[in-house]
């Protein structure tokens, strides 16, 4: 008996007509998506950023190595005292004291 009543309710609920979609709904969705895209800051992951700038970082590192090597070589050929010589001198003075 009670099952019959439940079935009647479910059958009647099945007959309910779906609502009419308000006009301009699709356009409102589009606006919401555009606004969301503008308001959200673009977050780039560390690895993505590294990947994107990898060539630049490589060139910069290579340039730094070349410059250091060139300075070292030029100082080796000129007989001016370098920082290394000064440090060595200070150490030996201290040990002999």
């Amino acid at each position: 008996m009670k099952d019959k009543k439940l079935n009647q309710i479910l059958a009647a609920a099945r007959q309910e007509t779906p609502p009419v979609v308000p006009t301009g709904f699709a356009e409102r969705v589009k606006h919401a998506l555009v606004n969301e895209a503008i308001s959200q800051p673009v977050v780039v992951a560390f690895w993505d950023q590294l990947n994107r700038n990898f060539t630049r970082y490589t060139v910069a590192a290579a340039a730094a190595i070349v410059i250091c090597a060139a300075v070292e070589v030029s100082q080796a050929f000129s007989h001016d005292p370098t920082i290394d010589d000064d440090v060595e001198q200070i150490c030996s003075d201290w040990m002999l004291r």
């Binding site: 439940l6 309710i9 099945r14 309910e16 979609v21 699709a26 409102r28 589009k30 919401a32």
Partner: protein, 190 residues
């Protein structure tokens, strides 16, 4: 429509936002129909539909095209509905449901012939009776008994196993029957 949708999805992926508006137009009625089963307030239904299409837009990269776009979108709509039912259930202690209308009460008291129950009244009674069900049970019983979907379809839409769907449907029916009996008793006492 299916081919149209596949073509539109390809255009959206190529960067056309107008294609997505077209995709929304093609599928909006279906999404509204699904969501309206869980919410009577049309403004809220519109908000939920917007949430569905926003989520679909964000997840479009994961759409592999194995199933039709419409089916993929229905799955998102069902999950949005489930979240909504969960939120409503959490608030059910603070928000009171409207009382039943006179016609619904008359029908419960057997004062109306059985065939005279209208969809609107059935919906009123169901909404009250559904309060005794868990959100997942509400979704399963709605998909099975009101939308007339098969167990296989429900599994695909909710992501649950067929055993879980069958058990939920059975429990939901029992709980609904009891809730209607209780409503009937309450209305007869008044």
């Amino acid at each position: 429509m299916v081919n149209d949708d596949a073509e539109l999805v390809a255009r959206v992926r190529a960067g056309s936002s107008d294609a997505y508006t077209e995709l929304v137009r093609n599928n909006q009625q279906q999404v509204f129909s699904i969501l309206h089963r869980y919410e009577r307030d049309l403004h809220l239904v519109e908000d939920l539909a917007q949430e569905t299409f926003t989520k679909a837009w964000r997840a479009l990269a994961s759409f592999d095209g194995r199933a039709p776009f419409q089916h993929w979108l229905s799955r998102i709509a069902v999950h949005v509905a489930l979240d909504h039912v969960r939120r409503r259930k959490r608030l059910s202690g603070t928000v009171s449901l409207p009382d039943l209308g006179e016609d619904s009460v008359a029908w419960l008291r057997d004062e109306l012939p059985p065939r005279e129950l209208e969809a609107r009244q059935a919906r009123e009674i169901l909404e009250l009776a559904m309060q005794s069900l868990s959100p997942a049970e509400q979704v399963v019983i709605t998909l099975m008994e009101i939308e007339g979907r098969t167990v296989k379809e429900i599994c695909s839409l909710t992501g649950d196993s067929s055993v879980a769907v069958r058990v939920r449907a059975m429990r939901a029916r029992t709980k609904l029957r009891k809730a209607i009996e209780k409503l009937e008793a309450t209305e007869n006492e008044r």
